[in-house]
């Protein structure tokens, strides 16, 4: 069977079994290894991608379910600039606030955060924590991740940042 999906704005036609995990399609067939596997059973959120804008755990999504849909991964966050990729404001906020330590949870975390920001919800601490409740991080204690998302949501610059 062959399936069509749009990944980070590029159309792909993938000939693979329909039950193949979207995670493996992205990582192995399309070479987009930014999306990570932490458990393979929907518990850690490291494999989170956006399917038509909604966060899903790609280890539990079969390829056939993504057929005809738009997938967005961590590789799709930065924008192309004349001298190479430019970090999105969310990525920059993570970098400056210290939201990524070992970085293995980061791609999934960013995608959940991206969906939260796009929803336009009020970025209270509680709402942010709810939005990333499915993404486990063992390094940060979440404090600086929440701070980074807050920072990106407020779209604030340096000097008004929490802790600045």
């Amino acid at each position: 069977m062959s399936y069509e999906l749009r990944v980070n704005g590029v159309e792909f036609e993938v000939a693979a079994p329909g039950m193949r995990r979207l995670l493996d399609v992205l990582r192995e067939d399309l070479g987009l290894s930014g999306t990570k596997e932490g458990c393979g059973e929907g518990e850690c959120g490291a494999c989170t991608v956006l399917l038509d804008g909604e966060p899903v755990v790609s280890c539990l999504v079969p390829l056939c379910q993504a057929d005809g849909h738009a997938v967005r991964t961590v590789e799709g966050l930065a924008t192309a600039g004349p001298q190479g990729p430019v970090l999105s404001p969310l990525q920059a906020a993570f970098l400056e606030a210290g939201g990524a330590q070992c970085g293995i949870c980061t791609p999934g975390m960013l995608m959940s955060a991206e969906a939260f920001l796009a929803s336009g919800a009020d970025p209270t601490e509680e709402a942010i924590r709810e939005a990333i409740a499915g993404n486990l991080c063992r390094c940060t204690g979440y404090t600086k991740i929440v701070e980074a998302i807050e920072l990106a949501a407020l779209g604030r610059g340096a000097d008004t940042a929490p802790g600045a």
Binding site: V10, E11, F12, E13, V14, A15, A16, R27, D29, L30, G31, S33, G34, T35, K36, E37, G38, C39, E41, E43, C44, V74, E75, L77, G84, P85, V86, L87, P89, Q91, A93, L95, E96, A97, G98, A100, Q101, C102, G103, I104, C105, T106, L110, R129, E130, A133, C137, R138, C139, G141, Y142, T143, K144, V146, G155, R156, G157, A158, A161, A164
Partner: protein
């Protein structure tokens, strides 16, 4: 499988350096720094998905490897049988007989085999017996199911208190314990137990072995200690140093869990790759990772404490037993740290601490953030809080009367000459958390509480200390080397085997060198952690990287600067490019020299157990659901003395992350066992705190510098792990009036205590 793409072909993954990533333009939210400190060096790669972890690396033609494990806790291996109906030509099987070198995982003692040989003894449920590899995962899975072990069962031992096999033991103390108890007005006794817990780095263990043209082997993977793996690889494959190469891939967390286990996994992958003559990938799934890799040592700690009416602790008698699991691994070193820290940060005149680490038929336990100290200090702080209750003195005040101050003497007879910040962290945390004020409020709430109350709030405090770097003469024996070079091309490069696993090595090292040389942060490069490139700077453990290896590179940079300035007669920053052009490259290697005035005697186990100690205090607030026994930890204030802060954002990140691990240890993390096997060996059943469970964490960094390190740093990673759990359990007591002696303080334990029932079985023991 075919992939067609429009408009262009899918880009293949390549391990080439990612293209440089820029921050958004001015005005788009770009400070370009982390609160005045540099941005994490490898941050952009991690944030764009271009950082390459082991499983992201592509090696064409690689096969997949798997491990056949025992399913019994203790047995004699009689044979490994292959199903005759299976086509074995598509698979490679490696057993103990195929190991070219020694069948041991090189560590402290040679007791752990790489694979159990036929005729040998299986000592735990997840013990590797054979290895398999195939070109695809389906064949591999099928082949594994077609292998059978023939065994003869042996009687297992699960209770560390009855185990007769002792890996290590200590007996240390000072003063006169009998006289101490004679002088006491009150004696408090208690036994505290903690079970196995899992590091739960989010990236599972992963290694890829690639045969080299020179007949050697290159192994790339997720690891903390390149030279531990290197040593194990050389010995198992009978290779010389040059033909065994170990490279660290980007590593998705370690917390001690990637200290010793990667040696075994690397050797497994290498044995298969050597046999097939192609790359072999061994990437664990979560289930195998939890089932087979090392856990925090369970401990049983018994305290007897003598105290005067005025609140002066005059005698401490402590016995500590660690369950090492089936093999020795690092248990003697974990035990020595646990023993030295067992009394807590208190200057007590009469102390006796006895301890032992014993064998049981469970997978070997190993390093996990804190390395024995969190277990020992949980018990010590429980005891101090109970003493405070018994005396009717505030836990804060009792500590003030007993903490170490400069000139204090530890149980190893170490005189604490400098850098003692027990009081400062205590006062800073208590003040920031408004400990006494909130404690008065929770006491009023408790007094007014009626039987219909559904929740109860409480506050608790714990104080801790953590010896910086290796214990005793470990550092001297290791003789670590780190280097700084100016290349002939004019690049400044740090060469060290210290790994980045999220804690910030790749950021703070260039910071330290840039400061020393007076050049911008971006002008300093860091060489890859590849044993063919960097010297042996020792393992990335024991919070030693900033203090010990950081000190080495500062000294190397200092010498480089002096050399260049002498040759050019101008400041380094202005002259180094010219110097490189004229004189070619210069490399300065710095080998560890003992810190002045620091001595330890291994024979008597007395002296300066650590060059300095870090100090930490946590204050936790909880809310306990009196119907369900569930605990919500609302906030934790953690004040941690790290010597000198090199990078405030990274250091706070360590305190926050360590604190949450401690909260998990206190409340939800528990491995349950049956017949020596971990029952909850999946992420569905082994729970760690989520963003919603996590408290608000307020990190306060305190600086009491250590004069022996050129930059004063003492390390930060492990400190917060020592104090979080006892603070949370003290807060549960403050809320409910009951003491939970065993970790975790789970709903079952809390409900049993509230109802006055027998608590559920002790943690860490197999049913």
């Amino acid at each position: 499988m075919t992939i067609t793409t429009r408009p262009g072909p899918a880009t293949p993954v390549s391990p080439a350096a990612p293209s440089p990533v820029r921050l958004p333009r001015a005005g788009e939210l770009a400070r370009g720094h982390a609160r005045g400190a540099p941005l994490r060096r490898e941050g952009p790669a991690k944030l764009t998905g271009t950082a390459l972890y082991a499983d992201d690396l592509v090696f064409p033609g690689a096969w997949y490897g798997a491990t056949l494990r025992s399913t019994e806790p203790h047995a004699r291996l009689l044979g490994i049988e292959r199903d005759a109906d299976f086509d074995w030509s598509r698979v490679v099987v490696v057993t103990a007989e195929d190991i070219p070198g020694d069948n041991v995982v090189s560590l402290i003692i040679d007791d752990q085999p790489i694979l159990v040989p036929v005729g040998g003894e299986i000592r735990h449920q997840a013990e590797p017996v054979a290895l398999l590899a195939a070109a695809d995962r389906d064949t591999l899975r099928e082949a594994k199911a077609r292998l059978r072990l023939r065994t003869e069962p042996l009687a297992p031992v699960f209770d560390p208190l009855v185990s007769s096999q002792v890996f290590a033991h200590f007996d240390m103390g000072k003063g006169d314990i009998a006289a101490g108890f004679a002088a006491a007005d009150l004696v408090v006794e208690g036994t505290y137990r903690v079970g196995h817990t899992e590091q739960l780095y989010i990236e599972n263990q992963a290694m890829i072995a690639v045969p080299r043209e020179d007949g050697g082997m290159t192994v790339t993977g997720s690891l903390q200690c390149p030279y531990y793996v290197h040593k194990a690889l050389k010995r198992a494959l009978a290779l010389d140093s040059e033909r065994a190469v170990v490279i660290q891939a980007e590593t998705g967390g370690g917390f001690g869990g990637k200290e010793e286990y990667p040696s075994l996994l690397a050797v497994h992958a290498a044995l298969l790759a050597q046999r097939i003559g192609r790359p072999v990938r061994m990437i664990y799934g979560r289930h195998e990772d939890i089932a087979a890799t090392t856990k925090r040592h369970p401990a049983i700690v018994t305290h007897r404490t003598g105290v005067t009416r005025e609140g002066r602790i005059v005698a401490q008698e402590i016995d500590l037993v660690l369950d090492g699991g089936a093999y020795c691994t690092l248990s003697p070193v974990v035990l020595s740290r646990a023993t030295i820290h067992a009394g807590g940060p208190y200057d007590v005149a009469n102390v006796r601490i006895t301890s032992r680490a014993v064998a049981t038929n469970t997978p070997p336990n190993g390093a996990f953030r804190g390395f024995g100290a969190p277990q020992a200090e949980f018990a010590a702080e429980m005891q101090v809080n109970r003493v405070a209750e018994a005396l009717g003195i505030s836990p804060l005040e009792l500590r003030r009367r007993n903490i170490y101050r400069e000139g204090g003497v530890t149980p190893t007879q170490q005189v604490l000459r400098e850098s003692v910040a027990a009081q400062e962290v205590l006062e800073r945390a208590a003040e920031a958390a408004e400990f006494e004020r909130i404690r008065e409020r929770t006491a009023r709430e408790r007094a007014a509480r009626t039987a219909s109350a559904r929740t109860a709030r409480g506050i608790g405090l714990a104080l801790g200390w953590h010896g910086a770097g290796f214990t005793g003469s470990g550092e001297e024996r290791m003789g670590s080397v780190a280097s700084v070079e100016l290349t002939a091309e004019g690049a400044i490069r740090i060469l060290a085997a210290s790994t980045e696993m999220g804690q910030g090595t790749k950021t703070i090292f260039p910071q330290l060198v840039a400061d020393e040389l007076g050049v911008p942060y971006d002008a300093v490069e860091i060489a890859p952690q590849d044993t063919s490139i960097v010297p042996d700077s020792g393992p990335t453990v024991a919070s030693r990287t900033a203090m010990v290896v950081g000190g080495l590179i500062i000294k190397a940079a200092r010498r480089l600067r002096a050399q260049v300035e002498e040759r050019t007669g101008r400041p380094f920053a202005e002259s180094y490019l010219h110097d490189a052009q004229t004189w070619g490259g210069t490399r300065e290697d710095e080998r560890f020299e003992p810190y002045p005035g620091v001595h330890f005697d291994d024979e008597t186990y007395t002296g300066d157990a650590y060059p300095a100690f870090g100090w930490a205090c946590a204050v936790a607030e909880v809310e306990v659901d009196l119907d369900t026994g569930e605990v919500a930890v609302r906030s934790v204030v953690s004040a941690d003395d790290v010597g000198r802060v090199i990078h405030p954002v990274l250091a706070e990140g360590q305190v926050e992350g360590g604190t949450l691990q401690a909260v998990g240890y206190a409340t939800i993390e528990e491995i349950k066992l049956h017949d020596g096997r971990y029952l909850n060996d999946r992420l569905q059943t082994y729970l760690i705190p989520t963003a919603v469970d996590a408290p608000r964490i307020d990190a306060i960094l305190v600086e009491a510098p250590f004069s022996g390190a050129p930059h004063g740093a003492k390390g930060v990673g492990e400190l917060p792990m020592d104090v979080g759990a006892p603070a949370v359990v003290a807060a549960i007591h403050d809320a409910t009036g009951v003491w939970i002696h065993d970790l975790p303080a789970s709903p079952e334990r809390i409900l049993a205590a509230l109802d006055g029932h027998e608590p559920p079985g002790p943690p860490g023991i197999s049913a």
